[in-house]
């Protein structure tokens, strides 16, 4: 059921927020042991929030999100509710403060069901890097849910919550949305406050919704977007009524197909994309082939900048003020032991890579070079958006792979970000819409737009969305 449909039911008193929440808690109890989508189910807190939601309804002050049960990726700080980052180093961590987006959703009376599993500190594309076990794809339990927001995507796909929030640094919302057959929106960098979200790469991290429909994504986006004093990278740009704007006609829009995203693409997927493009042409949209020659450098840039920024951001996990502490004979021993024991393989690899590319003698050739090519990539996107209003590509080259399939070579996993990472480097929004299929499994269609064009992307997605 959609957010608006549930809202009508709650408004009409066909069900109370408390009963709706209880329904979801029962479902989670039944399915989560198989899927491992949730790391923490905050039952008491959920019911308390549901009671408050019912009060908001009684006072006639309900919004669309009041009483709606949702989940947060376990890198969102939730005061009083355990937040692990899917890492052993935060296994017992209870944040003393909350992420801004959590406060915003709470203020509207939305109900937090719990914290979802993810790749450790959001590093991964399959949710196999969690210190608490992988998330199974609800559509096929032998396959990955995608990552890093795998738990959020699986929870939405399996209807263990109405919507979830995730983060997207290189594709971590769109990738699992594609694999689990749901809608995932990566926002413009700075559109949504990152305050209270465990930082991975500060120049790339974004927060966004994973939902069952485009309209739900629009509703959630409006609730969480906006300038925040606690995040100085959020510009004072108006938050539009994205749901209202969905009905706007897209006739006359031009959409580009960047040829670099279609080289060697599975012909079955290509045929289906062509079908989607035909629908757009019938709506009066112009389709043209374009070129983004720097696309092949996205992964190398990303896997220099991300590890560099992550190595800096994860320095705070040092056993001193919070988190795991492994004693040592002196401070240095304590640091080494704590971080050695608390971090998994992928986190360590990326921190070492990051430290290396920032180190004396190598910074110029690696980090600075990556930053410069990033500038060229941003310029390339700017120019293309002078020619077209949006771009359409596949989100992923293939459906969800089998658990364990890509674990023997880290590079294989990195290449999963090939179509998603460019948008993060340019700071532009992109949505994954579950309209393609391969071997009976979903594959996402990606719609990319210039900065702050979320309304436009959502409009295009709405037109292509398959009615339930």
């Amino acid at each position: 059921m959609s957010i608006k449909e549930l809202h009508q039911k709650l408004l009409a008193k066909e069900i109370s927020s408390v009963d709706l929440t209880k329904q979801y808690l029962v479902k989670i109890k039944a399915l989560n042991p198989k899927l491992n989508a949730f790391l923490t189910v905050s039952e008491e807190e959920a019911l308390a929030q549901a009671v408050l939601a019912d009060k908001i309804f009684a006072a006639g002050k309900a919004t669309f999100l009041t009483g709606i049960p949702y989940a947060l990726k376990d890198i969102f700080c939730t005061a009083g509710v355990r937040t692990t980052g899917a890492s052993k180093i935060l296994e017992q961590y209870i944040p003393p403060y909350s992420a801004t987006v959590y406060e915003k959703l709470k203020a509207q009376g939305a109900v937090l069901l719990g914290k979802t599993n993810c790749d450790e500190f959001a590093m991964g594309a399959s949710n196999e890097n969690s210190a608490y076990g992988p998330v199974k794809n609800p559509l096929d339990h032998t396959r990955v849910a995608g990552g890093s927001s795998g738990g959020s995507a699986a929870a939405v796909a399996a209807d263990l919550c109405v919507f979830a929030l995730g983060t997207d640094t290189g594709g971590s919302i769109r990738d699992p949305a594609s694999f689990c057959g749901i809608t995932g929106l990566k926002v413009t960098y700075g559109r949504v406050s990152r305050s209270g979200v465990l930082s991975l790469a500060s120049s790339l991290d974004t927060i966004g919704p994973l939902t069952k429909s485009v309209e739900d994504a629009a509703l959630v986006l409006a609730a969480i977007a906006g300038k925040d004093d606690f995040d100085s990278t959020t510009p004072a740009i108006e938050v539009e009524d994205y749901a209202q704007l969905l009905v706007k006609d897209i006739k006359g829009m031009s959409i580009g197909l960047p040829k670099e995203y279609y080289i060697g693409l599975d012909p079955e997927l290509k045929t289906q994309i062509d079908g989607q493009l035909e629908k757009l042409k019938e709506m009066g949209v112009q389709i043209k082939e374009v070129s983004l020659p720097l696309t092949e450098y996205a992964i190398p840039i990303y896997y220099i900048i991300l590890p560099a920024e992550a190595s800096s951001n994860l320095a705070r996990y040092d056993g001193v003020n919070f988190g795991l502490n492994k004693p040592g004979k002196d401070l240095l021993e304590m640091y080494l032991a704590t971080r050695g024991a608390g971090f998994g393989d992928e986190v360590k690899r990326r921190m070492i890579l990051g430290t290396f590319v920032l180190s004396s003698g190598y910074q110029e050739a690696y980090y600075k070079q990556a930053q410069k090519v990033r500038t060229l990539m941003c310029e390339e996107f700017n120019q293309i958006f002078n020619e077209v209003d949006a771009l359409i590509t596949p989100t992923m080259p293939a459906p969800a792979f089998k658990l364990g399939e890509k674990m023997s070579n880290p590079l294989d996993m990195y290449l999963a970000d090939i179509f998603t990472a460019p948008a993060n480097l340019a700071g532009i929004p992109a949505l994954s819409l579950p309209v393609l299929k391969k071997q009976g499994l979903p594959v996402g269609l990606q719609i990319i737009g210039p900065r702050f064009s979320e309304a436009r992307i959502l409009q295009i997605a709405k037109k292509l969305e398959v009615a339930e």
Binding site: P300, N321, M334, A337, R339, I352, L353, K372
Partner: protein, 94 residues
């Protein structure tokens, strides 16, 4: 560019990360593979191209210097692995 065990040890130490013997053997291979792929970036001509630090274009975002009461001292201190008299206890620093 290869990362051998000795370079790995040095960087791991800089990152304050203890590695297991198994990781000390496996990581050099994995990291060298990744670096090998990343090195294709050298092919791009970046003469006179400025680096991108952030994509918002925002500068000097200021706020009024107003003090707000912090009320979660207990919750904050509860998270410290070791504390005494309202202060966090750690190994000797100096």
């Amino acid at each position: 560019m290869q990362i051998n065990e000795s370079l790995l040890q040095k960087i791991a130490h800089l990152s304050r990360l203890a590695l297991t013997p198994e990781q000390l053997v496996r990581f050099p291979k994995e990291l060298s593979l990744i670096l090998g792929y990343i090195e294709k970036l050298q092919k791009v001509d970046t003469t006179d191209v400025p680096p991108t630090h952030q994509v918002t274009g925002l500068e000097n975002v200021l706020r009024k210097d107003v003090v707000q009461e912090y009320t979660a001292q207990t919750e904050l201190m509860d998270q410290a692995p070791s504390s005494a008299s309202g202060q966090v206890k750690i190994n000797k620093v100096l």
